[in-house]
C-alpha cells in the first residue's frame, strides 16, 4: 500500500516535471529589430519579449531610435516560440489568445510573431522594421429593413490591432485577418452590431451575399480612431 502511494507521488512529480518548459542548455539566440510608427518616426520604450508557454526567455525595450536587440534563451522541447511587441504577457495568453487589453501602450497597435516548429535551429530573428500604427475601431451596424425577408451572408477582412505573423513567412507585414466562414442572417436574426479592432489608415472589407446572389464587397476606410458604418439590406 505504501509503495503504491510512493509510486503515485513519483508519477505525479514526473508529470509536473514533464509539463514544465525545458530551457535548452548551452544556447542563446539574438532578437533584434527597429520599431517605427506609421509616419516613420522611431518609437522608444516599446516592449519586445520572446517566450514560450508563459515563460519569458528574453526581453528588451526599444531605445530612442526605435531599435532593440536582446539575447534570448531557447526552449528545449515541443514548444512554439512567440515574440511579442507592445504586449503584456502572462501564463494564459502565450498561445495567441491576446486581446486589446493586453496592449501595453494603447496608442499603438501590437504584433505577435510566432514560430510553431519545434527543435528550432535558428540562431536569431531579425524582425526588421516593425510598423506600429495607431489602433482604430469600426462599429458596423447591419440592419434588415423592416418588412423585407432577405437573407444575408457576410464576411470581414481586416488588419487586426494585434497583428499575428508567422516567422517562417517572408512578408512580416502580412497579417490580414479574415473570418473563414460566412455569418448567416435571416428574418429571425437580422439586426446586428459588429465591432472590429483594426489599425488606423487601413480599411475593412465587407464581403456579403444577399439572397444567394453573387458576392459583393464594400471597402470601409478607417480614417478615425472610432468609425461607424451602417449597412442596410
Amino acid at each position: 500500500m505504501k509503495i503504491k502511494h510512493i509510486s503515485l507521488l513519483i508519477g505525479i512529480a514526473f508529470l509536473f516535471h514533464a509539463c514544465e518548459v525545458q530551457i535548452e542548455d548551452d544556447r542563446r539566440i539574438l532578437v533584434k529589430g527597429n520599431i517605427i510608427d506609421s509616419s516613420n518616426n522611431p518609437l522608444a520604450n516599446v516592449s519586445v519579449r520572446s517566450g514560450v508557454e508563459g515563460t519569458i526567455l528574453g526581453e528588451a525595450f526599444s531605445d530612442e531610435n526605435g531599435q532593440f536587440q536582446f539575447t534570448s534563451l531557447e526552449a528545449d522541447g515541443n514548444y512554439a516560440l512567440d515574440i511579442i511587441v507592445n504586449l503584456s504577457s502572462n501564463d494564459n495568453n502565450w498561445k495567441g489568445s491576446y486581446n486589446i487589453e493586453h496592449i501595453e501602450n494603447p496608442e499603438y497597435s501590437a504584433k505577435r510573431y510566432f514560430y510553431n516548429l519545434t527543435k528550432r535551429k535558428e540562431s536569431g530573428y531579425d524582425l526588421g522594421q516593425i510598423i506600429l500604427r495607431n489602433p482604430a475601431r469600426l462599429t458596423l451596424f447591419i440592419n434588415n429593413i423592416p418588412g423585407d425577408n432577405n437573407t444575408l451572408k457576410y464576411q470581414l477582412e481586416y488588419m487586426p490591432t494585434i497583428c499575428e505573423i508567422d516567422l517562417k513567412s517572408n512578408n512580416f507585414e502580412s497579417c490580414w485577418f479574415n473570418s473563414d466562414e460566412y455569418r448567416h442572417l435571416d428574418e429571425d436574426y437580422s439586426n446586428i452590431q459588429v465591432e472590429v479592432d483594426s489599425q488606423l489608415g487601413s480599411s475593412v472589407t465587407f464581403n456579403y451575399i444577399l439572397n444567394n446572389e453573387p458576392m459583393q464587397s464594400i471597402s470601409i476606410p478607417l480614417s478615425n480612431s472610432e468609425n461607424t458604418y451602417v449597412f442596410e439590406y
Binding site: E20, V21, Q22, I23, E24, D25, D26, R27, R28, I29, L30, T55, I56, L57, G58, E59, A60, Q69, F70, T71, S72, L73, D76, S123, G124
Partner: protein
C-alpha cells in the same frame, strides 16, 4: 568588490607580518636542530580550503552582465615526484544576473568547477611557494523564474600559491588565480565575443592542512 579585496589583502599582509615575527623566535629555537632533520619528515601533500573571490575581466557575459559573489575553493595536492604535485581541485561561486538584455531572461547562476591541478612546490623555511596549472570542467547552473538550465565550459587556470606554516600540520595560504573558461554556448556570430570565453582573476585565501610530517622538525 574591489574594496573588499583591498581590505582582505591588507588584513593578510598584517597577519603575515605578525606571524613572520613569531616565526623569527621559532627559528632561533629550532636552529639548534641539525639541518638534516628538515628532510626526515615525509611530505605527502596538503589540503587548502578557503573563500574564493572571482572577478571576471574583459568583455564577456560574466563581467558585463553578472555580479559575482564570494565562493569557496578546495584544493588537494599530493606530492608525486620530489616537489611535483597533482591533485583534485574544486571551486564554486554564485552570481546574480544584472543585464538580462545581454544574457537572457534568468536570475542567477551557481558556478562549479571540478578538475585537477599539477604543479611544482618550493619550500623556504616556513613559506612554501607553489605554481600549478589546472584543467577542469566548469558548469554554470542557471536559475530562471521557473526553470533551470546550464552552461558548460572547459576551464584552464594558472594557480600560483604562497603559504605560511603556523604549526606542523596547519598553515595559511594566499592563492591568486588566472582562469580562462572556454564556453560551450551556441550563439550567433554577433554574440561570439560575449559568450565564447570568460577570463577571471580570482583570489583565494584560508587554511592549509599539511599532510605528512615534513614540517615536524623545522
Amino acid at each position: 568588490m574591489f574594496l573588499n579585496i583591498k581590505i582582505l589583502l591588507v588584513a593578510l599582509l598584517i597577519s603575515s607580518l605578525a606571524m613572520a615575527q613569531e616565526s623569527g623566535v621559532h627559528e632561533n629555537i629550532d636552529s639548534s636542530y641539525p639541518q638534516e632533520s628538515t628532510s626526515q619528515g615525509k611530505n605527502i601533500g596538503n589540503i587548502t580550503i578557503g573563500p574564493y573571490i572571482p572577478s571576471a575581466i574583459g568583455n564577456n557575459f560574466v563581467n558585463d552582465g553578472m555580479g559575482t559573489k564570494i565562493g569557496v575553493r578546495l584544493s588537494v595536492k599530493f606530492i608525486v615526484l620530489k616537489s611535483f604535485y597533482i591533485g583534485p581541485y574544486f571551486s564554486t561561486f554564485k552570481a546574480d544576473v544584472t543585464n538580462r538584455e545581454l544574457l537572457g531572461n534568468y536570475n542567477r547562476t551557481t558556478n562549479f568547477l571540478a578538475g585537477a591541478v599539477v604543479g611544482y612546490e618550493k619550500r623556504i623555511n616556513d613559506i612554501t611557494f607553489n605554481l600549478g596549472i589546472g584543467l577542469g570542467r566548469a558548469i554554470y547552473h542557471n536559475k530562471a523564474q521557473k526553470n533551470n538550465f546550464k552552461d558548460t565550459a572547459i576551464a584552464l587556470s594558472l594557480n600560483p600559491e604562497v603559504s605560511y606554516r603556523i604549526s606542523t600540520y596547519i598553515g595559511l595560504y594566499l592563492a591568486p588565480e588566472f582562469r580562462h573558461d572556454f564556453m560551450n554556448i551556441d550563439v550567433p556570430d554577433e554574440l561570439n565575443d560575449t559568450f565564447n570565453d570568460v577570463n577571471y582573476f580570482t583570489i583565494s585565501f584560508g587554511l592549509r592542512i599539511n599532510l605528512g610530517s615534513a614540517y615536524k622538525n623545522l
